[in-house]
């Protein structure tokens, strides 16, 4: 139901989410982010271009890292969301709490600014 791929690009860890994240699969997203943090990455890009659906379980994973990322000076930017997924973040105003970019190039520019 969900596939997560990680690759490294310009010093950033790119986590690509493919498929649907719900209560049964959110743990995999959590593990991927935790791995990235554990390996010491300070720039995490989350490629949402193949993310078809996210429920509150997935939203909760992103929210749970906000404070930790502030403390550890880790920047995370999500990008490439389709309209339905973007709307899910907007319903609760989470787009104000997380860094969300339109595409990869905007995400890279944003993450470099956040790291300054």
């Amino acid at each position: 139901m969900i596939h997560i791929k990680r690759l490294q690009e310009d010093g950033a860890d790119v986590i690509a989410i493919i498929g649907e994240i719900d209560a049964s699969s959110s743990i995999e997203l959590d593990l991927a982010i935790a791995k990235s943090v554990g390996e010491g990455y300070e720039k995490i890009l989350v490629d949402c271009s193949a993310l078809e659906y996210i429920s509150s379980a997935g939203l909760g994973v992103f929210m749970s890292y906000i404070d930790e990322f502030k403390d550890k000076k880790i920047a995370m930017v999500l990008y490439g969301m389709n309209d339905k997924v973007a709307n899910t973040f907007q319903i609760l105003g989470l787009d104000e709490l997380l860094h969300i970019a339109k595409d990869k190039s905007e995400a890279k520019a944003m993450i470099n600014e956040l790291q300054v």
Binding site: S55, S64, I91
Partner: protein, 139 residues
């Protein structure tokens, strides 16, 4: 038109629930963005029921009904279950700030349901609990 779907309380079945709702609403030309919001709200309600009332026991079944009347400007969803009642109207959901600071991974779902649905009602009937969610739609 009424649609019914019986589902076992394993969270692995949530994908099937979402596909059933999408397919049923698409047949009535409900706009895509509205479908995706209703799917989201029902996914939350069903996962709550599976996890909290039935402890993910796949042998426990509940029924999801969708009631669509083309002359009515709303769609009704009913979750019919014989498990423990959990009235989300009586649940005071944590603030977003609390969720962030306490690193809680839950607590957002009920907030989503209340934001998306227009009415949430519960009634008991013949040993079963019916949770009825009403969503107004733009015709």
């Amino acid at each position: 038109m009424n649609y019914k779907y019986r589902v076992g309380c394993s969270i692995e079945n949530l994908k099937g629930v979402r596909d059933f709702i999408r397919k049923s609403l698409k047949a009535h030309h409900v706009p895509d963005l509205e479908i995706s919001e209703m799917v989201l709200a029902l996914d939350e309600m069903c996962s709550n029921l599976m996890i909290h009332a039935h402890h993910c026991n796949a042998n426990d079944l509940f029924e999801l009904r969708i009631i669509i009347d083309k002359d009515k400007p709303y769609i009704i969803f009913e979750l019919v279950d014989d498990g423990t009642v959990f009235d989300i109207n009586e649940f005071c959901e944590p603030s977003i700030d609390n969720i962030v600071h306490q690193k809680r991974k839950g607590g957002l779902g009920i907030r989503l349901v209340k934001s998306i649905m227009d009415k949430i009602e519960y009634k008991a009937s013949q040993g079963q609990t019916v949770c009825r969610l009403t969503k107004n739609i733009n015709k």
